[in-house]
Amino acid sequence: MLKELIVKDVKNTLRDLKIVVGAIILPFIIFSIMGIAISAGAGQMVQEVAEKVKTISLIVCDEDASNYSTLYVSFLEKVAGNTTYSTSCNASPEELLDQGYDLVVIIPKGFGENISNESPANVEVYTRVRGVSLTAVSLASAMVSVVRSAANMLSSYILTQAGVSPEFAFNPLRIESLVTIRGETVDLRVLESIASSMFMLIFAPLVVVSSALGMAATSMAKENEEKTMEILLTLPVPRMHIVLSKLVGTMILVALSTISFMGGFAVYMGSIMAMASAPEGSEAGTGLGAAGFIDPALMALFGAVIFISLMAVAALGILLGSIAPDSRAVGTYVGPMSMLVMIPAFILMFVDLSSLPPAGQVALLLTSPFTAAVILVKAWFEGAYTFIVASIGVSLAFVIVLLYLSSALLGSEKLLSLQYRFRRMRSGRWRRKRLGLFSKG
């Protein structure tokens, strides 16, 4: 008996095209695309990092010019292929990076004396990144690791000297790794923290945006489900008022949801900021503020962009929800759609906007209604302000077009015929009809 019941359940479920597409086919397609995007991104990252480290162009400014500093430079020359040596660089690290060097190593005065006194000697390392993608930050970390490799060689040498304390010999250098981004100098660890939190930075807005899509679509579909839509459409109310009331209603609901979400997000970011606090004794700007992350202008823009993005998806939700016969039907397309919008976000984790081909940049801009907040964060760090403006423009245009379409749909009988088709599609009659399973009479 159990077997028959199981067979009945499986048959009944698998004959529902909606379930087959939504629960079996779509997840496979979406996750395959996401997997390909990730492996392509990660593969490109590993390859780029490996290539760059081989051809690194390094300049050493040896202001100490002692035996120990010369020895350390010789180790650097062993691990980095293209090394320029100078005892007086006469230029700031920023200027040297402008000249095309990938890495600037500054050995300050007192280096040799410190080592002789068995006190850790300071070394400053500067490099530059264009953005905060995982690729860019991994590259910076890999380049700085060259300096650490040379430090290990120095450490091995010191260990061979008689009477040196092992504790000092294992850590003879205090390496300060600094990165310039958008004209600011920040500690590499801060940037690494931001890159590792990029996942959250990307997905936080996406979660809010996806939930707004669901809320708006459900709110409209409820009008059909509760059988209130027909009455609503015969009331002496302009169609645009119906659409706007749904939009505002959804925005209020989403605002409450976002406040709750952002509260949790703030706790999360607080822990990230604490982790990325400035190292003791550092003179360079090392906090997240110095990285431009908590720039008030960025924060204000972030809020505005999230708002526009929410309006855009709410408008889409209203349009989709108006043709759905009930809130259950909304789930059949909102879920997969929410997963689809994650694909560009995945790609953005690995690549910088400037490294995308023009067609890729245009394609990304078209996803702005869903990804504007993510694009903003990326473009801000890269100084690609035109991209931000274009992204906001696309999102606003999307809102206006969708509101107009929704209003037009509510004002015509097209809405009722679309709902009718949706119901037929869901009932599966259209499929059986196509297969010729409808008998006449």
């Binding site: 509760e226 059988k227 209130t228 027909e230 009455i231 459409l233 015969t234 009331l235 002496p236 109310v237 302009p238 004002g411 015509s412 009988e413 009722l416 015929s417």
Partner: protein
């Protein structure tokens, strides 16, 4: 009697299916006019066209001289529509729902009180709609449709699926309100007894064609029938 509704040669096609094949009728001021016919006859399509939800394929449809296609906004101010399957917002109370509708139609608090009287739900009017039975919801909907004093109330199967108690209340309210306030009513029904009780005139519609129009008693006499059901059977059988 001034005509509130004028329908002339109304045709409606859904793709290749012709739902209405050129029907014509009028509804006068304060008149209760019934459309009767089997399922798929075209009753609901006709009502939906008058309610501005559907567009006619051809023909003239006017409410107090306003075209239902080109002057939709004007028509919507004059009508109220009760679909066969009508719902109210489940988390509003009955009173809140009526107040909402009064605001939309820009009628005062008296209309809300009138609506509460028509609904006859007693203390339940302050309960959320989701707690209502089907009959209570229908009574609330009828109250919503009538309390705004429309020039034309379009009621699609007003007592469909209701038990006797609720059905009697709904019929009584429709008749009483139309008489007291001179509201014209265009309704559809399967129930011939109901139509006989309520309507000043009825139209029999079948397969998109208007078979006959007349006053119930005159139709009974003309066809030598004891009730409208017999009239309907005779008309359809002769067609």
């Amino acid at each position: 009697m001034a005509e509130v509704v004028v329908v002339e040669n109304l045709v409606k096609k859904y793709g290749n299916v012709m739902a209405l094949k050129g029907i014509s009728f009028t509804v006068g001021h304060g008149e209760i006019f019934g459309l009767v016919g089997p399922n798929g006859a075209g009753k609901t399509t006709t009502l939906r066209i008058l309610a501005t939800l559907l567009t006619p394929t051809s023909g003239r449809v006017e409410v107090l001289g306003h075209d239902v296609v080109t002057e939709r906004d004007e028509v919507r101010k004059l009508i109220s529509y009760l679909p066969e399957e009508a719902g109210a917002y489940p988390y509003l109370t009955g009173r809140e729902y009526l107040e909402l509708m009064a605001k939309i139609y820009r009628v005062g608090r008296e209309a809300v009180e009138e609506g509460i009287r028509i609904a006859g739900l007693g203390d339940a009017i302050d309960r959320q709609v989701r707690t209502y039975s089907k009959g209570m919801k229908r009574r609330l909907q009828l109250a919503r449709a009538l309390m705004v004093r429309p020039r034309l109330a379009i009621l699609d199967e007003p007592t469909s699926g209701l038990d006797v108690v609720h059905a009697v209340h709904v019929r009584k309210m429709i008749k009483q309100y139309a008489r007291e306030h001179g509201v014209s009513v265009l309704l559809s029904s399967h129930n011939m007894l109901e139509v006989h009780y309520l309507c000043d005139r009825v139209a029999l519609i079948d397969e998109g064609v208007l078979k006959l129009i007349g006053k119930p008693d005159e139709l009974l006499e003309e066809y030598g029938a004891s009730n409208l059901e017999e009239v309907f059977v005779k008309v359809v059988a002769h067609a």
